[in-house]
C-alpha cells in the first residue's frame, strides 16, 4: 500500500464516484413528481426540526462574542460601540453559517447517512432500482435540494438570533445599550456581507447533504457498516465544511 495510493489515487477515485453519483442523480431533476413528496419531508426534517437547536447555538455564540469583545477590546481609548461593530459582522460573515453548518453536519449528515445506509444494507435501494425507479433521483435529489433551500433560511435565523443574543446580553450586563450596539453595527456594515453569508450557507448545505448521501448510498457491511457510514458522514462533512469556508473567504473577501 503505497503513499501515492492513499494520498492521490483513492481520493481521486472517490471524487470520481461522488461526481458520478451526483451527475446520475441530477439527470432526474426534471422528474419532480418522483421526488416531490420526499423533498417536502426532507424540508421538514432538515429545516423545520433544526430551528430550535440552531437558534439556541446561535444565541449563545452571539452572547459569548459580545462578552469576549467587551473583555478584549473595550478600554478608555476604544469606544464601546466597537462591540456592535465586531459582533454583527462576525455573526453575519462567519459564525451564523459555521454554527449552522457544524450542527447540521452532525444532525442532518449523520441522519442522512444512517437512513440511506440502512436502505442500502437491507436491499431497499435494490428494491427501488428493481422497480425501474432511478434510486439516486428518488433518494438523493430531494435531500440535496432540501439542504440547499433550507440552509440559507437556517443561516438567516441563526444570524438574526445571534445578533439579538449578543445585543441582549450586552444590554443586560450593562456593557453596551442596544442603541449603541446597533450604531456600532452600522459603522462597518456592508450589504455584501449577508449575501456572502447566504452563498456560504448554500455551499455548506450542498456539501453536507451531498457528501452524506454519497457515504450512505455506498454503505456496505450490515449494521456495523451503517454505524461507520454515520460517523464518517458527520466527520467528513465538518472537515470539508472548514475547507470550503476558507476557500470561500479567499475567493470573495
Amino acid at each position: 500500500m503505497s503513499i501515492a495510493r492513499i494520498l492521490i489515487v483513492d481520493p481521486l477515485s472517490s471524487l470520481g464516484r461522488y461526481g458520478q453519483l451526483l451527475y446520475q442523480a441530477f439527470l432526474t431533476l426534471g422528474d419532480v413528481r418522483s421526488y416531490w413528496k420526499n423533498f417536502v419531508q426532507q424540508m421538514v426534517s432538515i429545516g423545520l426540526e433544526s430551528i430550535p437547536i440552531i437558534a439556541l447555538a446561535a444565541a449563545f455564540s452571539g452572547m459569548v462574542t459580545t462578552v469576549q469583545t467587551a473583555y478584549q477590546l473595550v478600554s478608555p481609548i476604544i469606544p464601546r460601540n466597537i462591540i456592535g461593530a465586531i459582533v454583527v459582522p462576525s455573526m453575519i460573515l462567519e459564525l451564523a453559517a459555521v454554527v449552522t453548518g457544524f450542527i447540521l453536519a452532525g444532525r442532518v449528515g449523520a441522519r442522512i447517512a444512517a437512513e440511506l445506509g440502512t436502505m442500502r444494507v437491507t436491499e431497499q435501494i435494490d428494491a427501488l432500482e428493481a422497480m425501474g425507479l432511478n434510486s439516486t433521483g428518488y433518494l438523493i435529489v430531494p435531500r440535496i435540494l432540501a439542504g440547499v433551500v433550507m440552509f440559507p433560511c437556517l443561516y438567516l435565523i441563526a444570524a438574526f438570533v445571534g445578533i439579538a443574543g449578543g445585543a441582549g446580553v450586552g444590554h443586560l450586563m450593562g456593557l453596551i445599550p442596544i442603541t449603541e450596539f446597533m450604531e456600532g453595527a452600522r459603522m462597518f456594515f456592508k450589504p455584501f456581507d449577508p449575501v456572502f453569508g447566504i452563498i456560504k450557507a448554500v455551499v455548506f448545505g450542498f456539501i453536507i447533504t451531498s457528501l452524506s448521501c454519497y457515504v450512505g448510498y455506498n454503505t456496505s457491511g450490515g449494521a456495523e457498516g451503517v454505524g461507520k457510514a454515520t460517523t464518517q458522514a458527520a466527520v467528513s462533512s465538518c472537515i470539508f465544511l472548514l475547507v470550503a469556508d476558507l476557500l470561500l473567504a479567499i475567493t470573495f473577501l
Binding site: E115, E123, Q124, D126, A127, E129, A130, M131, G132, L133
Partner: protein, 255 residues
C-alpha cells in the same frame, strides 16, 4: 424469455458464479435450488441488472440488459416484480404505502382505485388487516408476505421470488405456493423461484435448475428431477427429506 449465457461473477477475487447458463421460457415457473451460499441470490440480481457480470450476458426478451442505457434498463425492469430474500420493505412507510408505492409511481390510478388494489394484494397474501402497520412491527414472515404483495401489485410479466416461503409455517407456505402457482396460471406470469423448500419445488415448478458451488449443475423438468441419478442433486434433495418417486406418493410424505 430470459436467457442467461456463460455468466461469470467474482466478488473480491472469489468466484461466485462460473459459466452459468440458463433459459427461462415464457409462462413457465422455474425453481432455482441449491445450497446456502451457492450463488442463487446473486444470479437473481443479475437478471434485473442489479449486479453486472464480469463476463457473460443476460438477455430479456432478446435484449442484452448490460448493453443498454440505464434508462432503457429501467424500462426493462418495469416488466419485473422482485421479492427480495429479506423482503426489502421500505421501513419509512406503512404496509399499505409499500404495496401502493409502485402503483402510485407507475400507474395513473386514482387513490381510490389504488386503495382497492392494495387491499386485493394484501388479501392475496392473507394479510388484509395490516395496511396501517409499519414493517418494523410485522413478523419476519409477515414482512415477506407484504413484500410479495408489493412485488405482484403491478401484475408484472416476470416475477422473481427469492425464498418466498423461508421462515413461514407450513400452512402459510402452502398459501404462498398456491398464490405463486395461481399467478403463473391465471396471468401467464413467468416466474423464477429461488428456494430451499423441495415441497415448493414439487408443487409449483415446471422445471428446476440446481446451482452447486457457483455452477449450473443440473437443469430439467420436475419429472426428470424425480428420475435423475445425479449424486449431488440426489444428496441435496434427500437432505430436504423428500422422497423422490412417484408424484402420487409425494402427497403422503408431504403431510
Amino acid at each position: 424469455m430470459i436467457e442467461i449465457r456463460n455468466l461469470h461473477k467474482q466478488f473480491d477475487g472469489r468466484d461466485v458464479l462460473m459459466d452459468v447458463s440458463l433459459d427461462v421460457h415464457d409462462g413457465e415457473t422455474l425453481a432455482i435450488i441449491g445450497r446456502s451460499g451457492s450463488g442463487k441470490s446473486v444470479l437473481l440480481k443479475h437478471i434485473v441488472g442489479l449486479l453486472n457480470p464480469d463476463s457473460g450476458r443476460v438477455l430479456v426478451d432478446g435484449v442484452d440488459i448490460n448493453a443498454i442505457s440505464y434508462d432503457e434498463l429501467r424500462m426493462v425492469r418495469r416488466n419485473f416484480g422482485v421479492l427480495f430474500q429479506g423482503g426489502a420493505l421500505f421501513d419509512s412507510m406503512s404496509s399499505f404505502d409499500n404495496v401502493a408505492f409502485p402503483l402510485r409511481l407507475f400507474t395513473q390510478m386514482t387513490e381510490e382505485e389504488i386503495s382497492e388494489e392494495v387491499q386485493i394484494c394484501l388479501s392475496m397474501v392473507e394479510l388484509p388487516d395490516v395496511g396501517s402497520v409499519f414493517p418494523a412491527d410485522l413478523s419476519g414472515g409477515m414482512q415477506k408476505r407484504v413484500a410479495l404483495a408489493r412485488a405482484v401489485a403491478l401484475r408484472p410479466r416476470y416475477i422473481l421470488y427469492d425464498e418466498p416461503t423461508s421462515g413461514l409455517d407450513p400452512e402459510t407456505s402452502n398459501t404462498i405456493d398456491v398464490l405463486i402457482k395461481g399467478l403463473a396460471d391465471q396471468l401467464n406470469v413467468t416466474s423464477i423461484v429461488v428456494t430451499h423448500d423441495m415441497h415448493s419445488v414439487l408443487s409449483i415448478a415446471d422445471r428446476a435448475a440446481f446451482i452447486h458451488q457457483g455452477r449450473m449443475h443440473w437443469t430439467g423438468t420436475i419429472q426428470e428431477l424425480h428420475e435423475s441419478d445425479d449424486q449431488t442433486l440426489r444428496a441435496f434433495v434427500k437432505a430436504n427429506e423428500y422422497f423422490i418417486g412417484d408424484p402420487a406418493e409425494r402427497g403422503q410424505t408431504a403431510s
